[in-house]
């Protein structure tokens, strides 16, 4: 399970150290709260639920609630001569980082971790309709972000 938790955490936080901190906090909390786990129920879903709660608390504590960027600001951020590595992977990282947390979480639970919509709804403690609307918005937003990133690539490699 640890590798799965690490993969999700890496994608969710976008950063190795923060991701492993998140996994560590999740494991510690899981051991402390073990009495609350019902034997026979889905342990994976339970652990992801704990991780989600830890993540939300961390974001809240650090006041890292992402600001909604308008499209002009976004175009500037992504295309504005940032000399970061111009790879598809980096673009995916950057695009993910610019998604609202709640949309990113749903996209990752469903797309990366292959949770069903109902399982994702349980992990996030929201109705399944909310999962689907976040998924749909996140999906389209991610597509726009990746599209916006793609055309500027040739400019970055001019020597």
């Amino acid at each position: 399970m640890i590798p799965r938790l690490r993969r999700y955490a890496r994608a969710l936080t976008g950063e190795r150290a923060a991701a492993d901190d998140l996994v560590q906090d999740t494991l510690e909390r899981a051991w402390r709260k073990l009495a609350l786990w019902r034997p026979g129920s889905d342990l994976r879903a339970w652990l992801f639920t704990i991780m989600h709660n830890v993540f939300v608390n961390q974001v809240r504590a650090r006041r890292l609630v992402p600001l909604a960027l308008d499209d002009a600001a976004l175009a500037e951020t992504i295309g504005g001569g940032d000399p970061g590595p111009a790879t598809d992977l980096m673009d995916l990282d950057r695009a993910l980082a610019r998604l609202p947390d709640e949309q990113r979480a749903v996209l990752l639970l469903v797309g990366l971790e292959q949770f069903s919509y109902q399982e994702a709804a349980d992990v996030l403690a929201v109705p399944i309709g909310t999962v689907m609307s976040r998924l749909h918005r996140g999906r389209e937003r991610l597509r726009e972000l990746l599209d916006a990133a793609a055309p500027v690539q040739p400019l970055r490699v001019v020597k």
Binding site: L107, L112, L135
Partner: protein
């Protein structure tokens, strides 16, 4: 005549795979005539693949020690039967039982963490195919000099070829307390690996007898000899590992 534009809700439902087959087929057919919508759908469908291509590598990364150490039962306070059943289940699924180490006597305080650290380090590095060690046995003199310097004491490396195990090399690790640790790795002809974990316990020098612990399938013989704590770990039966541990001990204390 222009086809009616497809609404996003229908397209998302198509990608979600929740439409009746006939409806899905009809939509796919309409998409063929609408390249812009078809491109959007293709991009959405590609996202899970892109995510896995990007992040699946995390699954095979070595797990940091801190995470393995977090993945165990905290010190007991008040016990409940339900919780006790749960420990076992969680440990089994997470891959760390954590139940083995509760030595009856706590008198050798530092020795308690020694076998656990050694077993964790063994579990992390023994399966490594490409990077089991930092310095290989080919650079024997450098290996010993380097790790001796980092541990602040002259180390000697047991030779276990008569037992069928050849030195692979060694690496430097941090102990739980943050001090330097040397890990030497051995391998037999069948690929079975042993690790010898050597920790400098200069702050509390003491001697202990040979002790045995078993952590998550890893057998560990450990002892403290003056300033140095030793732990020999392997996925062997107790008796087989004891024989080798005895050889190690005799070589270190001629």
């Amino acid at each position: 005549m222009n086809p009616a534009p497809l609404d996003d809700a229908a397209l998302h439902a198509l990608v979600d795979g929740v439409l009746p087959p006939a409806r899905a087929a009809a939509l796919e057919a309409q998409l063929a005539a609408q390249p812009e919508a078809a491109a959007r759908v293709a991009a959405w469908r590609a996202q899970p693949h892109a995510l896995r291509a990007r992040f699946d590598a995390v699954l095979t990364e070595p797990i940091p020690l801190a995470l393995l150490q977090a993945n165990r039962r905290p010190p007991p306070r008040r016990w409940r039967a339900a919780a006790a059943a749960g420990w076992l289940a969680l440990g089994a699924v997470l891959g760390w039982s954590g139940h083995a180490l509760r030595p009856a006597a706590d008198r050798a305080g530092a020795a308690i963490t020694l076998p656990r650290e050694a077993a964790v380090a063994h579990a992390v590095y023994a399966p490594e195919v490409r990077h089991p060690v930092e310095v290989t046995a080919a650079e024997h003199a450098h290996l010993v000099a380097w790790l001796s310097k980092r541990l602040g004491t002259q180390l000697s490396v047991p030779v276990l070829e008569a037992e069928g195990f050849r030195l692979v090399g060694g690496r430097l690790l941090p102990s739980a307390a943050g001090g330097p640790v040397a890990q030497f790795m051995y391998q037999d002809a069948g690929g079975q690996r042993l690790t010898l974990y050597v920790r400098n316990d200069a702050q509390a020098p003491h001697d202990t007898a040979f002790r045995f612990a078993r952590e998550n399938g890893v057998s560990v013989f450990y002892w403290v000899d003056g300033r140095l704590g030793y732990a020999l770990s392997g996925e062997l039966e107790r008796a087989a590992l004891l024989k080798i541990a005895d050889v190690v001990y005799r070589q270190l204390n001629p």
